[in-house]
């Protein structure tokens, strides 16, 4: 990525400690991270290592115990429609149709503009013909695309994705990765993507942030210097993947 791009998100010395029944558990410790505008960053680590906690803190759903998170130079104090969090497919509203879900965040727009955007994003994620369908009638992959479309419809400048494709079958997952890259290349949002899948991280990200076991620190940040579309049998791809695999091994003793 061009180094001239400005910093979008900065995490400064962030720690998070959960208190429960008088016991406190350190989840994140001294996290420092800068994400540039338009960058695609993957947070990689095993389940339970605290990467979702970091994502929640970035999105404003929880405030760090110490340290500070800034977006565009402003301290994050809560969730904001300019930065949308995508919760696997569980986040779509089952009482709204596909149209209703995509239009959910557009309540401030005039009706015509709202309808134009709904139609645009229905087309973008390939849900034509399902405008009036309710989520229980959709497959897992369709619900996932619906949630991404709902997020994109409000034209946020950042997307937080929490293992968004974890619950999908492997073929749908491949298709969704390609879709996400296509959307990212078209719209140039800043994307923070949490995953425990090394291949997924190397296929998608500009940079992969490898997180250590709890309390999570940043083990290493790996630049993925391969252009899209990425050849997953190329020597450089395998080299980067194996390097990350080794880092994970160091961090988690596997």
């Amino acid at each position: 990525m061009a180094p001239a791009l400005k910093t979008k998100l900065s995490v400064e010395n962030v720690s998070v400690t959960f208190k429960r029944d008088g016991k406190s558990t350190a989840v994140l410790e001294n996290i420092d991270l800068e994400v540039r505008e338009g960058e695609f960053v993957c947070l990689l680590g095993p389940s339970g290592c605290g990467k979702t906690t970091l994502l929640n803190a970035m999105a404003g759903f929880l405030s760090p115990t110490s340290g500070e998170i800034q977006v565009d130079g402003e301290v994050v104090r809560g969730p904001d429609p300019r930065r949308i969090f995508v919760f696997q497919e569980r986040g779509v509203f089952p009482w709204l149709t596909v149209e209703g879900n995509i239009g959910f965040g557009l309540f401030k727009l005039p009706r015509a503009e709202r309808e134009r955007r709904i139609a645009h994003y229905i087309k973008m994620v390939g849900l034509e013909g399902f405008e009036k369908a309710y989520p229980p009638e959709l497959s897992g992959g369709m619900k996932q695309r619906l949630e991404v479309a709902r997020a994109l419809a409000v034209n946020p400048d950042m997307l937080f994705l929490d293992e968004p494709f974890g619950a999908l079958d492997s073929i749908t997952r491949l298709v969704m990765r390609r879709e996400l890259l296509r959307i990212w290349e078209a719209e140039r949002k800043t994307i923070i993507f949490v995953t425990h899948d090394i291949d997924e991280a190397v296929q998608l990200a500009d940079r992969v942030v490898v997180m250590s076991a709890r309390p999570a620190t940043i083990q290493e940040i790996v630049d993925i210097d391969i252009s899209h579309p990425r050849d997953i049998s190329a020597a450089r791809y395998l080299e980067l993947r194996d390097g990350i695999f080794k880092q994970i091994g160091l961090a988690h003793h596997v």
Partner: protein, 252 residues
Amino acid sequence: MNRRAWIRPLLFIAVLLILWEIAARRQTAHLLPGPWETAGGIADLVRHGLLLKYVVASLFRVTWGFLLAAVLAVPLGLTIGWYRRAEMAFNPIIQILRPISPLAWIPIAILWFGVGDVAAIFLIFLGSFLPLLLTAINAARSVPAVYVNAGRNFGLGPARLVYRVLYPAVVPQLIIGLRITLGIAWLVVVAAEMIAVNSGLGFLIIDARNAGNRYDLVVAGMVIIGVIGLLLDTGMRSLEKVKSFRWSYSED
């Protein structure tokens, strides 16, 4: 339901009616009127214009008692369920009041309101209030955090969050609670009318016995209560079929 699905229960009812008629005709002491006699009782009630009058009287009380309870219990319950501390404060008193049958309040209802509609409505209100309150508390408590977070993420203020996320998220559970509670209200009205008023289906039953041992009218009243209860339940069930309400029954 399709036509074929109706046939089986109707046939079964017909068989039961025939058996009942046979049994009633063979009895030596007159312990129970048969269906034919009961039908005659219903015809009598229609002829005297009492059937419609009593049905309307009972439905009037149920409607008011139930609606008043719903209007107060649902918002209160949702609020209590939403705030964990409120729930902790309210829970003991709810658990103490809950095992008290609404019928135990009959003497107090009459003391406060005299014999009449208000006393009966008050009893139905009492019988409906706690079940609805508990339903609403549970419904609010079980709204998945992910919906609330998504709503906040899209910039919804408190009022919009209630109206566009919390309310639709609790509706399916509320409908079930309303349906069950309407059944309870219909049970309570009959009992309340036996003591607290001079009209309605409960009054019909107790009056038919006291004023001349007209057991055909007693059973006629019971049959009418059953049929109306079925209609009320069917009406509430049809709400569950609304698509935007139905999600929680169809998923998982």
